[in-house]
Amino acid sequence: MEAVERLAGILDKRNVEWEIYWEEGKSASFRIERERIERAQWKFYSGIGLRVGLNGRVGFSYVTGLDHDEKSLFELVKRAEKLARIGSRPFRGFPTREKFPRVRGLYDKSIDDLDFDEAHSLAGEFVERMREMRGERGEYTLAGAMSFGTVRAGIVNSNGIEGEEPRTGLAIWAYAVKKNSRSGSGYASQSYTTLEGVHEGEELIRRAMNEAESSQRAEKIEGFSGEVLLEPQVVEALVYLFLENLYGDSVYYSRSRFSVGDLGKSVLSGNVSIIDDPTLGFSPGSYSFDGEGVPGRRKVLISRGELRSFLLDHTYGKLLGLDSTGNALRDFRSIPRIGTGNVLVGRGSENLGDWSGVVVSKVFGEHTANPVTGDFSLTVELGYVVENGEATPFSGNMVSGNVFEALGSVSRVGKELERRGSFYSPRIVTEVRLV
């Protein structure tokens, strides 16, 4: 990349440490309303983000586009240097070179190569499925979207790190509303790294319609406290709430319940293990290097209830006296921020198919919960009461509790993992309160 080489050339002549992160991408998306493609879009983006380390401080700035002359690149360097001089952001140098793992299925040429007509025709097939599945059932309204994206990301720093990687993505969602005297709604989505995902469109429509049907029949039920079966979407809400306590910056700035001294302690139920793994093949949360050029690596965060690792980037790793876990996420417009790759909740041995009692399938309102205290109250979008093998839908209740207690009292864990984008989880049984 010419601009990147030129920029590196300018930086090499200055007495600074530096890191260049660049991206070039495109995305196409088709928005469907009432079983028609109403809006189609195609976007192009590219840019260069520069971090400069100077006298123990760091500054960041970016430019959009990859085509820049010497003068515009020099101005970028001056801006980043100015911010490094006036700021005092903690800086512990940039990472050094390590071997990147080989991660399979990050890039699918057939997504990259799609032209308008091909992408449109794939979205058209998805719409056609919607029309067929809706058929004459006028009480249903279907909406959705199909998006394709390709990005080439690269990093170079003054410690010799050099990486470049193309990644592709496909995202599909379907939304169904069922109306009669009252309304019900259902939603299903999935993301993929290859074009193979288009074959699952029909299944997503079916799930959204089934959910809308259940949602329309669902009534609020009597509240109680006790064991319930949580489906993966609900487990996801609780696990991400919990994970906010494992982010290195939260730990460093005392916004976490945990400190470095808690590593090795038992903090959740012995039935719970949580892993972050950006090296999984064909998974949307995967990468072979993170936003600082640190190799993506699998790490056990919680092993049978025991706290094993935090999620760290280079800076907060160093500030806490630990190594980066390769969890710096970013785009060219932003400095690296700590995030997750693919999060997996360890599977158990039970099939839970014989569960009798309350099942909570979908909740919303996660962002009103408090990750530090762990207290949550979420609205149940959909759940079921299973009695004698028969499932009756319910909704509108709130499920409340404390995330540390809820994940601390998990008594049973299913043996089948369900993937929701970059989150993988079995069903689990724990104690909460239904209001």
């Binding site: 009432r34 028609r36 493609i37 109403e38 809006r39 189609a40 879009q41 195609w42 976007k43 192009f44 983006y45 840019g47 960041f60 700035s61 430019v63 959009t64 586009g65 085509d67 801006r79 911010l83 006036i86 700021g87 952001r89 903690p90 308008f116 007509d117 449109h120 309204t141 909406a143 509303v177 109306k179 009252r182 309304s183 019900g184 709604s185 949602s215 910056d249 700035y253 005392s254 916004r255 417009r333 919303f364 309102g365 962002h367 009103t368 919960a369 408090n370 530090v372 205290t373 207290d375 109250s377 609205t379 979008e381 909704s395 509108g396 709130m398 499920v399 409340s400 404390n402 209001v435």
Partner: protein, 453 residues
Amino acid sequence: MEDNLFKIAERTADKLGVGYFEIRISKVKTTSVLIQNDQLDELSNNVEMGIGVRAFKKGWGFSSANDLSKAEEVIKTAMKMAGLSRGPEKIYLGDPIRDSVSNLGEKRLDDVDISEKLEVTGKAAELLRGENVKNRIAGYGESIIETLYLNSLGSEIRTVTSRVRLRIASTAFEGGKTGEYWKSFGGTGGWELIERIELERWADFVSRKARELLRAKAPPSGKFEVIMDPELTGVFIHEAVGHAAEADAVKNGESIFAGRLGEKIGAEELNVVDDPTLPGKFGSYAYDDEGLPGKRVEIIKNGVLNEYLNDRETSALLNLIPNGHGRAQSYAHQPLVRMSNTFIEAGTWEPEEIFEEVKYGLYMIGDKGGEVDVATGTFTFGAKEGYIVENGELKVHLRDVSLSGNLVEVLRSIKAIGRDVKIHFPGYCGKGQWVPVDDGGPHVLTEALVGGR
């Protein structure tokens, strides 16, 4: 450059049979400062330019690039994409508008050096210090956006708008317990909005609240009479009414408000308004991102559903008068029907009278975000704190209070609306894209489900 691009666009439109197009070219300058404890966590200062083009044939096509050398490709791509879509038959066009609007406030943000912004943010973080306060955050963000809007009707609108926001937050820890509180300030305008903040007073307030929450109890659960403070009223009306009144959700048959204009849905005293023309608010604008003037909308008037928020497409489709609510996050996003500043208008009750009305209920304060399913009308939102109210008096202090309810039921249950309207709760609304909004209202008494322990 723009004349040339416009000519290319006209030629391409002719060739491809595109009936309508619009071009937005923006220059965006942003500055952000984030300080945690006394450590600078983020300091950035950037400028970018980009172009977004939208075309209408039998549906919408859109393309964008953050690299103006791709402008021609973007124009052609948007127009080709429009030919592939099959959406609405018609859109509202109207007359061309030529205007130039500047909204940079009294003291331009780019005349203030970044070191001063850093200093004020640092001072705010410092002022949050206090017993048991282990985490202090002060975040400053500003944007200055210059946009040239052109469309095939001949509109040419130049706007330059600056927005600024300061957020302070404290987390207190003691004996395994935590308390968290925050407050945001800001609006559309310049540095004067920051200078007017009484930092000492508010920093002290936020840290004191964080400490007090250490001793606050978990709320009871069940259905209660609930008094919402102006900030919570704001998030309630935004989530529960505002989203359901967005005409795209109505058009798609997804909103619970679809087909119900003219229907009585709330108390006689209830008036809900969305108004982008309020001066200086975070959600204010002169023109929306479809080049239409933003207008005040009376969503609910005297308890009756009166008007939807709409854009070029939905106003034509639903036969409504256009009210300029098509907003986009940036030049790289397509406009969607969005809110601006949404609020409940003043009622007739003094706040004290509302409290006297409650024998046993909850007073819930502050906005911790919310979410709604517009199809069923089920919503949920969080309050920063609360109190149990007994015979009109505040009793036990409560933390982590979330409310849930059904929009239709809660609107019907409104028993009292205060006179004390406040609209100064700047925030962002997400609907696949983020746009700045404000909301508020007076104290309101209703009934809702509280999720406690």
